[in-house]
Amino acid sequence: MVREESATLALQDVLLQFRNERTQSVDIGQPHAGFTNLLDHASWSLKSGAQVALCGPSGCGKTSLFNLLAGIEKPAVGSIRWGHIELTALSAQQQDSWRRVSLGLVFQQFHLFPYLSALENVLLPTRFVAFAPTAALRERAQMLLGRVGVRANADIAVLSRGEQQRVAVARALLMSPSVVLADEPTASLDADTAETVATMLRDLCREQRSTLIVATHDRGIASAFDAIYDLANGKITRR
C-alpha cells in the first residue's frame, strides 16, 4: 500500500523554461523573453505501477521532463508529487536521498564504469552512503544479473551493448525503487536487442510494482506499454 502511494505521479501546472541563447539579449524587458517553454503549465498524473511510454521529437523536452520527475531540476512554476512527497519542496540533500532509495534511472548511453565488474557496477549506488554493501544487497545484485543474463564478474569493456544496457537495468532496479525512469534505453541498440531489453525492463518493473516511464521514439517499443503519452508544445497528452 505504501509503495502504491509513493509511486503515484501527480504533476500539476508545471512550467519549465529553457533559456534560448540566441535570443536572450534581443527581447530585454519583455516577460520570459529569450526563453522557450518546454512545459507550459503542463499537468500529468499516473497511477502507481503504471508502465507508460513518453514520445516526442528530439528537443521537445523529454530529458528535461525526466530531470523534473527525478528531482534534478526544479520547475519555474507548479508542483511534482510522487505519492505524498512533494519533490519541489525537498532540499537538495533530501532529493539525493529520495533518488537513492525510490528512483531507478536507465540512460541511453548506459553510463557504466568500465573498470568495475558487472557486479561492482550494479552495487555502485550502495557506496554512496555505505562503506560496503550488505550481504542482502549483494545477493540481490547477483540475482538481478542472473535475471538479465550477465555474469557477475563480467568485464564491462568486453560486454556487447545489449549486455551493457542489461547491467544498467539491473543497477537501476537494485534498490527496488518505486519509480523507474528510462531515457531512450534502446536507442543505441539493434532492433532485436532493443526488444529484449525493453521486455526485460517491463517484466522486472512489473514484478516489483514499480512505476515505469520510458522515453522513446521507437513506435514498436512504445506500443507494448500500457499507455503512450506525447510531449509536444509544452503539453503532455495521451495518444
Binding site: 530531470n67 534534478i72 533518488r99 573498470y115 555502485l124
Partner: protein, 460 residues
C-alpha cells in the same frame, strides 16, 4: 547498509586505472619534484655529519699561514694541495708543551696505487692508544707501514711508493726505490684515512732528502743497503730541530679544552700579525717561504726552505667546518627553495591537468549525482584521486630522493674517501608531507568545481 560512511575509493581507483598511463606520468613528475628537495637535504646532512665525524680526532691542526680551509681539507680529508712547510722548531716546541698529549706531523706527497702515503708518528696511528689495530702492529722502523681499512693490500705485502699521485695529471711522477713492508691494518673509520698508507715521518724525510735514495734514478743496490740500515733506527718522537726535514702540518691532541684554546692562541698566526694578515680564515695568499710543499704533487721540498720561525696558523677543524657548513647551508637553502618552487609548479600543472580532465568526466559525475550520490561523495571522489596521485608521488619522491642522495653522496664521498649512507630524517619527511599537504589543499579546487556542477545542464 553496514554504516553511513560513503566509500568512493573503489570508484576512485577504478577511474585512475582507466587512465593509468597519464596517472603514472603525473606521479613520476611529482616524485621527481619531491625527490629533488629530499636528495639535496639528505645529501647535505649526510656529508655534514660524516665530515664532522672525520674531524673528531683532530683537536687542533697547525700549519704555516695560509688558507685554514685548505689546511683542514688536506689533513683531515687528505685532499692534495700545495701548502707551505712549517719552521723546524715548531714540532719540537709543541711536543714539550705540558698541555699536549701528542703532536703528530702529517706529510703527504707520495702514493701507492692511488692510496696516499702519509708520513706521521706512531701516536697518530693509534690516536694515543685509543685505536687498536685490527691486524698486525704499528710500524717500528722506517721500512714499515700501516694501512687503512679500505686499502686493498695484505699485511706482509711490500709496497713501493710513487712520488705524487697517479690520479693527478700535474704530477712529477717517478717511483722511489725505497720499499715498505705492511705490518698492520687500522680499523674502519668511514673517513679518507681508511684509504691511507701510514708510514714513519722519518721515512718520508729520508726519501725526499735523498738520505734513503728517494728516486729510482739512484742505484738499486745502494737503495737496498740503505733499506737494511734504516731498519734498525729508532723512530721519534721526540724530535730535535735537526731531525726535522720539513713538516707541512701538525695534528695536536690536547689534554684539556683549556689547553686547546691556549695553544690555538699561542700558535695562531703569530707571523701574520707582523705582516698584517687576517685572523687565519682566508689567508690563502700568504706565502712565507719559497719552498712550499705540494701535497700529492711535488712533495720534494722536505728539507728545503721553511717559513720564518714563528709563522704558524692554528685551527680547530670543527670551527673551520662550521664556516664551510655556513656556505654549504646557504647553498642548501637556495636548492631547497628551488625544490619548493619546482614542487609548486608541478603541483599547479597537475591541478590544471586534473581540472581539464574533469571536463571529460562531467557527464559521468552528473550521472552519479542523478543516481543519488551526495555532493560530498563526489567531492570525496575527486579529492581522493588528487590525494592518491600526490601522495603516491610524494612517497615515491622519498624513495627517489633517498636513492638520489646515495648516488650524490657516493659520487662526492668517493673523492674524499668517505663511507656514508644517507638517511631520511624528519626534515625529509616534512618535505614530503608538505608536498602532500599542499596537494591535498590544491585537490579541493577541482573537488569544489565538481561539487558545484549543475547536473541538469550536463544531463540535458
Amino acid at each position: 547498509m553496514i554504516n553511513t560512511l560513503p566509500n568512493p575509493v573503489p570508484l576512485a581507483i577504478s577511474e585512475l586505472r582507466r587512465h593509468i598511463f597519464g596517472v603514472v606520468i603525473i606521479v613520476l613528475l611529482i616524485a621527481v619534484a619531491v625527490a629533488f628537495g629530499i636528495a639535496v637535504s639528505a645529501s647535505e646532512r649526510a656529508l655534514r655529519e660524516a665530515s664532522a665525524r672525520a674531524a673528531d680526532r683532530f683537536d687542533i691542526v697547525i700549519g704555516a699561514p695560509g688558507s685554514s680551509a685548505q689546511l683542514v681539507l688536506t689533513t683531515v680529508y687528505l685532499q692534495a694541495a700545495a701548502i707551505p712547510l712549517l719552521a723546524d722548531d715548531v714540532l719540537p716546541r709543541l711536543q714539550l708543551d705540558p698541555g699536549v698529549e701528542y703532536a703528530a706531523p702529517i706529510a703527504l706527497g707520495d702514493s701507492v696505487d692511488q692510496y696516499p702515503v702519509v708520513g706521521t708518528s706512531k701516536d697518530f696511528v693509534t690516536d694515543g692508544s685509543r685505536i687498536r689495530l685490527v691486524e698486525g702492529r704499528v710500524f717500528a722502523t722506517r721500512g714499515e707501514a700501516v694501512i687503512g681499512a679500505a686499502v686493498k693490500l695484505m699485511v706482509g705485502a711490500t709496497l713501493q711508493p710513487m712520488h705524487g699521485s697517479a690520479a693527478d695529471q700535474l704530477i712529477d711522477e717517478h717511483k722511489h726505490s725505497f720499499k715498505f713492508n705492511v705490518v698492520g691494518r687500522l680499523p674502519k673509520t668511514g673517513t679518507a684515512w681508511d684509504h691511507a698508507i701510514l708510514v714513519p715521518i722519518e721515512a718520508v724525510w729520508g726519501i725526499h732528502t735523498g738520505a734513503l735514495s728517494g728516486t729510482s734514478n739512484g742505484s738499486q743496490a745502494e737503495a737496498h743497503r740503505e733499506q737494511d740500515h734504516s731498519a734498525g733506527e729508532l723512530l721519534g718522537p721526540p724530535w730535535t730541530n735537526d731531525d726535522i726535514k720539513g713538516v707541512p702540518a701538525i695534528v695536536v691532541r690536547v689534554k684539556s679544552p683549556v689547553d686547546a684554546y691556549r695553544l690555538r692562541a699561542q700558535y695562531q698566526y703569530r707571523a701574520a700579525d707582523k705582516s698584517g694578515g687576517d685572523s687565519g680564515n682566508t689567508g690563502g695568499n700568504t706565502r712565507v717561504n719559497s719552498g712550499s710543499n705540494t701535497f700529492g704533487n711535488t712533495g720534494g721540498n722536505y728539507g728545503g726552505n721553511k717559513s720564518s720561525e714563528s709563522s704558524t696558523m692554528a685551527v680547530f677543524p670543527a670551527e673551520v667546518l662550521v664556516e664551510l657548513y655556513a656556505v654549504i647551508g646557504d647553498m642548501r637553502e637556495v636548492m631547497t627553495a628551488m625544490s619548493f618552487a619546482t614542487q609548486l609548479i608541478v603541483l599547479l600543472a597537475v591541478l590544471l591537468v586534473i581540472i581539464s580532465a574533469l571536463a571529460q568526466r562531467r557527464q559521468s559525475i552528473a550521472v552519479l549525482r542523478a543516481m543519488g550520490a551526495p555532493a560530498t561523495f563526489i567531492f570525496a571522489l575527486v579529492w581522493i584521486q588528487g590525494f592518491l596521485i600526490i601522495g603516491l608521488g610524494a612517497a615515491l619522491g622519498l624513495v627517489f630522493g633517498w636513492g638520489g642522495s646515495v648516488i650524490l653522496v657516493n659520487a662526492f664521498a668517493s673523492d674524499i674517501g668517505f663511507n656514508i649512507t644517507p638517511t631520511i630524517s624528519y626534515r625529509e619527511w616534512l618535505l614530503a608531507a608538505s608536498a602532500v599537504l599542499a596537494g591535498s589543499i590544491l585537490a579541493t579546487i577541482p573537488s569544489v568545481i565538481v561539487w558545484r556542477q549543475n547536473i541538469a545542464t550536463t544531463l540535458r
